[in-house]
Symmetry: C2
Subunit: 421 residues, 2 copies
């Protein structure tokens, strides 16, 4: 592949390269090396040849959640730009299991397991990826054919010291915890997948940096191909807003979860993470994202409304538009209306309380008569007893955006519907 520097691009081609780069770069934590990505895209624009964008998949039972879709959305963006996706199921590793028998997490899979998991992957992946531009591979195809001497050729490409630089190896070595020699082969195998498929790009989470760079190293060591560029995506925090989204922590939204469950969970995402969820796990365009960010900043878009839209997008993507509408209705009924009395008193919000279309929550509660003092209002808030349209308000000093018709609740019995003149 030619290098960017030696290519003469027309103005139009240069613009296309910039357009693609602006989409690919969005949300990426790191691109290694940045200039290789640019030159690969330029070469593709000039030649019309799509790039091969690789993702390695764990062969164990797939149960994809929104956190996993971050890399899938990046791949979908590549597909929308005309490129091709290589999904590699690491069935070779799965069939071996953990030869020491010590690891709980690396159980040996049967041929049957692998096939069933692959079918599940396909069903789940194609909710995001374009099947026309996606190829599935099983790495047992090339790894299973390797003999001892091929393995030695592979192992000869790397030094022990380099391998021990990997975070978890380094820690274990330093702490005198055992590293079995075969463990060195997991990154080597992942890297060799790139050699075998001549991948141009590999995408993964930042926790995969070492393994993905291994592909670069091995492609260069084996020769006859350009080294891939690594696109490292950030890890998406889960519903708790702190920990990485994961099944074991329970802070996840599964893409196979029922529409109402999915909708409700989405509504519990912390406001401050909402844009990140949009950026990393939806089909939103750069322009739409910029507009949303601006709207949230200048108050013309209410965070709750944006979150409803996010929830609808998720349900729509994974269950269809109709299901999305129904889930929204269900949410409104159960969470917003369901727990409220039918006869809620209207409350005219005094102009003195309003400032830039927002109010300080504790002041509002006192004005409503829901608290006798500012300090009582604070206590209620801190205890989680106050809700706006069914969502808890926790910060007494927060200036919240309100609008005509909003329902505010304190404790189980105090309700009011805000009227803004």
């Amino acid at each position: 592949m030619e290098k960017n520097t030696s290519m003469q691009l027309s103005v139009e081609q240069q613009r296309e390269v910039e357009r693609q780069l602006s989409i690919i770069r969005r949300g990426a934590a790191e691109i290694i090396p940045e200039d290789a990505l640019a030159s690969k895209i330029a070469a593709s624009v000039v030649s019309g040849k799509p790039l091969k964008v690789k993702l390695g998949l764990d062969p164990s039972a797939p149960d994809i959640h929104i956190g996993h879709t971050v890399v899938l959305h990046k791949m979908r963006q590549f597909q929308d730009l005309g490129h091709e996706v290589q999904l590699i199921i690491g069935d070779f590793t799965g069939k071996i299991g953990d030869p020491t028998g010590k690891s709980e997490t690396r159980k040996q899979l049967t041929e049957e397991d692998v096939r069933r998991n692959a079918a599940t992957y396909e069903a789940q992946m194609f909710k995001i990826l374009d099947p026309q531009k996606t190829k599935f591979y099983f790495n047992s195809e090339w790894l299973g054919a390797m003999k001892f001497e091929d393995v030695l050729q592979l192992a000869a490409k790397l030094t022990v010291a380099r391998m021990l630089e990997r975070d978890d190896f380094a820690k274990r070595y330093t702490n005198n915890l055992p590293i079995h020699i075969h463990e060195f082969f997991y990154p080597l195998m992942q890297g060799y997948d790139s050699v075998s498929l001549e991948s141009d790009i590999e995408i993964g989470g930042t926790d995969q940096t070492f393994n993905i760079l291994m592909g670069r190293t091995l492609q260069s060591a084996f020769g006859f191909q350009d080294s891939q560029a690594a696109i490292l995506m950030p890890l998406l925090e889960g519903l708790d807003g702190v920990q990485k989204m994961s099944k074991s922590l329970g802070n996840y939204i599964g893409i196979d979860e029922a529409p109402n469950e999915m909708f409700g969970k989405t509504m519990s995402i912390p406001d401050e993470l909402m844009l990140k969820y949009y950026e990393l796990s939806t089909m939103i365009t750069n322009e739409e994202l910029a507009a949303l960010r601006e709207g949230l900043q200048d108050g013309t878009v209410h965070p709750r409304d944006a979150k409803v839209q996010l929830a609808k997008q998720y349900v729509s993507m994974y269950h269809g538009e109709e299901a999305a509408e129904q889930a929204e209705q269900h949410f409104i009924t159960v969470f917003q209306k369901g727990a409220m009395p039918d006869d809620i008193e209207p409350f005219q919000v005094n102009a003195e309380l309003l400032e830039d279309g927002g109010v300080i929550v504790s002041k509002l509660l006192v004005a409503l008569g829901f608290a006798s003092s500012s300090s009582e209002a604070r206590r209620s808030l801190v205890q989680g007893a106050v809700k706006l349209n069914g969502e808890k308000l926790l910060d007494p000093n927060e200036r919240i955006a309100i609008k005509d018709g909003d329902i505010i609740q304190a404790g189980k019995r105090k309700f009011a519907q805000l009227v803004i003149a």
Copy 2:
């Protein structure tokens, strides 16, 4: 295999075990573990089943010297005790060469090379080993059949830390010199050979300790067999008496060297190493060795005569008895008589000079009139100008054993034949 502790041996069997142990232990630098050797021999004595005694051979062109025969003689002792020898030619390693291409010493061998080298090995080995009790193996037979998953099973048996304990790895790792990952497989392969052939004993030089113990580790890790015992033989010093015998240092006696060459080189072995040569590289029995040691100590055996016998044994073993007789004659003619005039003056050794059948060399030279003073005698000696029966005398203070008929020479022209009344 049963353990010694659970076996009831008859007095006769116990005596046979002791006899075998006394022969096997002779000259060994270390036996690991000592009790495993004893219990293996006991089990063999009880069952009548021979032990399988393994030796790994480098597949590169063989050119065996006396240093190499140390382990072969130990194997021959096993054969004489009824056991069987497994010679494993590491052709698998040889065919691979060094995948990094950086090592000068590990050139890739062709199938043809390997076969030719094996034939040479056979020819050389059977000068010491009993062909009836020797089996040749090529480890490509089992290693070449291994697939990636088998290699991972093998690699899973050992930790990185354990491997880095090997001297040369430890040194390189500490000094930030590269260790390529495939290098870990050389000891693993050697160890796996023992698993594959279910070896009971492995013999090697002390420099092979790590690799031989690897066989023990792997046999235990793979299960279904007792771990082999390691018999580690000392490295034989070369003709210089200091460095390990090796071709590159030039201090060796090759077993394919011409009889006269072999004889002459043997005569240049330092006296103090002669018993070690006998012990480690001849067919001498324990009883004969004990007698020789005693004879040398009490002066009834002259070191030069013992050395002549050693030289004859070597030539006889590698070229036959007739060649040995001829080489001795040649040596006497050329080195002892050849360079001397026909009319050598006799010299009656004064009883005053003699003390316990020996003389101080410098005093003898003065008495002979070959030096005008003790200090001139010292200079001649230090310069290597003085010979007894063709062999240089270097130490002025040495008390040398002399006997009637010995010829002493100083410089090119001064000769005398000693007469002892």
